[in-house]
C-alpha cells in the first residue's frame, strides 16, 4: 500500500488549487463534455485543432483534486502536440493509471505526468484521473461527449 503522500503530491495539490488553462476557449473548434456518472463530476474540454495539431487547449468543470490536477496537466502536456502524439500520450497515461504500464521500465512519453502513477493503488480513483483524457480524446475524434462508463 502506497502512502497517501504519493497520491496527493505537492504538484497535484498545486494544480488543484491553481488549475492551468482553466477557462473557456473562444478559438475552440472542438468542444467535448466529460461525465463520470458514478460521482457526478463533469468537465468541458475546449480544443483548437488545426492541421492535425492541437494549437490550444483548455478546460472547465468541477471535480476532485485528482481530476482537476489531471485535467490541468493534461492541457499542458497535449497543447502543441499532433493528433498522433496526443493519442499516444492518452494511451500511455491510461495504461499507467490502470497499472498496465511500468512507466519506469517501459519506454514512454509521459515525463512529468508520471506523478499520477500513484493513482493505480486507488482503483476507485482511476476514473478521476482519466476523465479529462477521455474527454480530450473525444474532442480529437470530433465527438461531443465522453464518459468514464463507456
Amino acid at each position: 500500500m502506497s502512502e497517501l503522500s504519493e497520491l496527493y503530491q505537492q504538484v497535484i495539490l498545486d494544480h488543484n488549487k491553481k488549475p492551468r488553462n482553466y477557462h473557456k476557449l473562444e478559438s475552440a473548434n472542438r468542444v467535448a463534455e466529460g461525465h463520470n456518472p458514478l460521482c457526478g463530476d463533469q468537465l468541458t474540454v475546449y480544443m483548437q485543432l488545426e492541421d492535425e495539431v492541437v494549437k490550444d487547449l483548455s478546460f472547465e468543470g468541477s471535480g476532485c483534486a485528482i481530476s482537476k490536477a489531471a485535467a490541468s496537466m493534461m492541457t499542458q502536456s497535449v497543447k502543441g502536440k499532433t493528433r498522433v502524439e496526443a493519442e499516444t500520450l492518452f494511451k500511455e497515461f491510461h495504461s499507467m493509471v490502470k497499472g498496465e504500464l511500468d512507466e519506469e521500465a517501459q519506454p514512454n512519453n509521459l515525463g512529468r505526468l508520471k506523478i499520477f502513477s500513484g493513482v493505480r493503488d486507488y482503483p476507485a480513483r482511476v476514473k478521476c484521473a482519466s476523465l479529462s483524457w477521455h474527454t480530450m480524446h473525444a474532442a480529437l475524434q470530433g465527438e461531443e461527449a465522453a464518459s468514464t462508463e463507456t
Binding site: 497517501l4 471535480g63 482503483p123
Partner: protein
Amino acid sequence: MIAPEKILESINTEIVNIPSPFESGWDVRRIREDFPVLRQTVNGKPLVYLDNAASAQSPQMVIDRGIKYLQEEHSSVHRGVHYLSQRATNAFEGARERVRRFINAREARECIFVRGCTEGINLVMHGYGRKFVGEGDEILVSAMEHHANIVPWQMLCEEKKAKLRVIPINDQGELLLDEVEALITERTKLVAVMHISNALGTINPVKEIVRLAHKQGVPVLVDGAQGTPHLAVDVQDIDCDFYIISGHKMFAPTGSGIVYGKAELLERMNPFHGGGAMIRSVSFEKTTYAGLPDKFEAGTPAIAAQIGLGAAIDYLNSIDRVQAHKYEQELLAYATERLAAIEGVRIIGTAHEKASVLSFVVDEVHPHDIGTILDQEGIAIRAGHHCAQPLMQRFGVPATARASFAFYNTKEEADKLADAIEKVIEVFS
C-alpha cells in the same frame, strides 16, 4: 489493495474495550461483539465503519441463519412436495410473518418480497402507476428524494404524459409541509416520499403527509430505506398505502426487501414481472394471476436473503430499540458538535428531526478526496451525490461527504472522524 490473508489476520484482532460515554447507557461494547466484520483493521488501523446508510453490517445471528439455510434447508419454495421444499417454504414464509409483525401490517400477504427499495418502487410504478395514471395526471415527490424514488416516476410520466411535481424543502433540509396541501390536486394520483433522507438524515413527517393526501383521496408511498434501520415503523399508524423496505440497510443481506401495500390496493394492481409462481393458470389464450402475495413474486425468490431479513428482524427485536435510538441520537449530536467546531466544515442537512446521518462539505476540498484520505485512516464514509443529484443542486454542491452512524458505532469513532477531517484540511492547506 489489501491481500486476503491480511484481512483474515486482521479479523482476529481483539475488540477494543469501549465503554458507553452517553446517558443512554447503551452497552456498545457488547453490541459490537455481535458484528464480526467490525473486528478488522484497514490500512493498519481499526475499521471505523461510517457508511451504514449505504449498507449496514450483519450481526452473527443473520450470518448464522444464512449458513443454516444453505447447509440444511435449501430448496425451491412453494413448489416441491418433498421435505426440503417444505422446510425452505416454512423458513421463507416465517420471514414474511416476521416482517408483518415488525411493521404491524394487518396481513402477511400485504408484504411482498422484493430485492430492495429500487425494485420495490418499480413494482409500484408498474403495478399501480401504469394502471391508474393517465395523461395530465400528477405524481408528487419531494426535493430530497433518492433517484430510486424519482426516476421510475419520471419514466411513468414520460410514458403516460403525466407530470412530476416536487415538494420543496427549506435550507435546513426539511419539507415545506405548508406547500404539500396546495400541491395535491384532483390530478394527483400518488404522493411518493422518503421516510428518512439518506443524504441529509431528515426524518420526514410521513404520518402528516399521509393525512393531507388522504383528505383528497390520494394514496401515499413511503420509501422506507432509511426508516426501518433507525425507527420503529407501524404502517397502520402511519396509514401509508405503500411502505418500501431495503433489507441490507437494516442489517440483512443484499437482495432482501419488502413492498408493504394495503391489500385492497395490491389486489387492484397489475402484476409486476410475468413468469412462474405468479399465475393461477396459463394457456396460450389467457393467463390468470395468483392472489397476494404470489401475484408479485414471479420466479424463484432470493430465499436465503429474505430468510436473512427475518433473522435481522429477530436481532432487532432482541435489542432495546428505544435505547438504541437514543444512543444514535447522542452519537449524532456529539459528532455534529465536533465537526461543526472545525473551521471550514459545513454541515448539509440541519433538520430539527434527524436520524444519525451526517453530511458535510469542507471548503476547497472535494468530498472524494476527503473519502480517500479518511480511508487511509481506516474510516469508511460515502463521498458523492448519494443518488440525489437534484438535492445536491438544491444545496449548490456537486457532492457531499457523509458519515452515517449505526448503534454499533462509538464516540471514539466520531472523534477519529473529526481528527481525520482536520488532517484532510492540513493536507489541502
